[in-house]
Symmetry: C2
Subunit: 335 residues, 2 copies
């Protein structure tokens, strides 16, 4: 074992509104040894996801809430340091929901070995991980995207947004991204090849959408909710699909703002549909193969925002997501 | 010609909030004679529909707004009194969008001859008319209803609601209706055969839905919007379909209340979809045949709320819809 101690971040209380440092407990435990059929490892990269905010609330959702006093749930890349498991060996890198802690013991359930020769480990938390899968199935399956359509993505500079926009481009669509700030917008239309970007901090989104999607939006991929969802609803094309992926603008709100323009779904014969990426687990390999191909031929750029630190930096790193401070997939690399 | 005069109701101004008597102009014109290829007739029954409120606002929708000074758009049953049209003869009864006026001249476009031996004329404005078609295609096509599912209908005692609930029963579903008042609820569970009814004026709809749809709602057919839509969203089953038919609680509101629980669509992998019945015109005959069969074998009861009066009674009769004062299809019979 690399360390006799295991530093962990546990949920101390249920946040009201914005999640803050006072909602977490920093704990040090002895690092456990792996029993029969188990492996142990050290966490190399922690995933930070907007969905985490939802996991902290005590209400029924697609996953049970994180319990008070429990280690915070998180995806991570773990390097195996000790193994009594037939399928995993020392030095292997695996991804899984191992939680916010330095040291992991696992029976291997839900652990997936990754190949760092194909892509850097952190990419398996982004483009080749849940955000990539979310963008892929949200657009292609829920959104039923067709070549030549107009796609608008909100939260476009985030982990899922950067992937959704690039996948839509790879599928031959016109893509408009909505993001906060000139820098993010320049990235979208520059390196990432979006056709247009709207800076919601500087522009009237509703007007800008009318300019950038003059014939209406065929697929709106929503990561943010709130005013921007309403602006998109006002610009739908006939038979549009609104893909509900998330609502980061509402996660810290004590009262969710419902989309006042929802009746546009009626006038436009459109639908709004939600999904949960875990339902697509049987098809993850298929998606990873196609995304991997696009990465290999340069059509998709992977984008990780790596913060280096310790598990103790998890609380303040998580806040970056809700302040729009990350570009691409936010990852905490443990050093 | 029966009369040398044609009394009409024209739109005097665009209502703000609730539509009232001051928004209309009562006009008398000379009754026109039908030219070549046209027929003339007198209006027997006028249809009153919640959708009319939307037609009065000056914003893009599925039909152009009624223009200021124009005869109010309305479906009606007209008896032909004079004809220079090869397909229509004196005494024929036709349905069409002939407007709120006593006397009609038409080139026959959009006019459909009805058979009063099959059903009374007013039924062609209800169960065999647009409300019936709306319920049929909304449930079966948009809602993709399957036998054995749990269906909840709001505005259940209205023209569309009574049909939606009965069609769902005919298709072998458990049906819960939401309506205002004990009398309407008794009608639903009595004569109309609903499995349960919730009186939104007397009950907490959210709690009542949990009792009446303990495994969740598979199809929610929404005619009302507002709080009731939010209550239904909180009770969706996995893969539920929310059919947006209307939002009568919001039509007179100056600011629409968006559904704050819309993220339940995400957690439940559910969809919310709008539609416009006119899109299904090529399939109206197919629907009328099936509905006609259900009426004939007693599985569906037709229900019209007939007010007798003159076109001058149109404004106050229309208000009944928004005050929940009608049960079944609201019709103004001109006497």
């Amino acid at each position: 074992m690399l360390s006799a101690e295991n530093r962990q971040i546990r949920l101390a209380r249920r946040p009201v509104g914005e999640v803050g440092p006072e909602d977490w407990e920093h704990v040090t435990e002895p690092a456990a040894a792996p029993g029969e059929g188990r492996f142990a490892g050290r966490t190399r990269f922690l995933s930070l996801d907007p969905a985490m905010r939802g996991w902290l609330d005590d209400r029924p959702s697609y996953l049970p809430p994180v319990g008070l006093g429990e280690v915070m749930r998180a995806g991570s890349v773990v390097e195996i340091t000790e193994s009594n498991h037939p399928d995993f060996g020392i030095g292997d890198l695996v991804v899984g929901l191992f939680g916010v802690q330095e040291h992991v013991v696992s029976d291997g359930k839900g652990a997936l070995r990754i190949d760092p020769a194909v892509a850097p480990p952190e990419t398996y938390l982004g483009a080749l991980g849940m955000p990539g899968m979310t963008a892929y199935f949200g657009l292609l399956d829920v959104g039923a995207l067709k070549e030549g359509e107009t796609v608008v993505v909100s939260g476009a500079a985030g982990a899922v947004g950067t992937m959704a926009g690039q996948i839509a481009k790879a599928k031959g669509c016109r893509v408009v991204g909505i993001a906060g700030g000139a820098e993010k917008c320049a990235l979208l239309t520059g390196e990432l090849g979006f056709d247009a970007a709207i800076d919601y901090r500087a522009e009237n989104v509703r007007k800008a959408l009318r300019t950038q999607a003059p014939d209406g939006i065929d697929v709106y991929f929503d990561n943010v909710g709130g005013e921007i969802l309403d602006a998109a609803l006002a610009s739908l094309a006939m038979h549009a699909r609104v893909v509900l992926c998330g609502a980061i603008s509402q996660y810290n709100a004590t009262a969710v703002q419902g989309p006042a323009n929802y009746l546009s779904l009626l006038v436009r014969r459109a639908r709004m549909e939600g999904f949960v990426v875990f339902d697509y687990a049987p098809r993850f390999k298929e998606a990873a193969r196609e995304i991997g191909g696009w990465i290999a031929d340069g059509r998709i750029k992977t984008l990780e925002h790596v913060v280096r630190g310790t598990v103790d930096d998890f609380p303040r790193t998580l806040q970056m997501l809700f302040r729009g401070e990350n570009t691409g997939k936010l990852v905490l690399e443990l050093v």
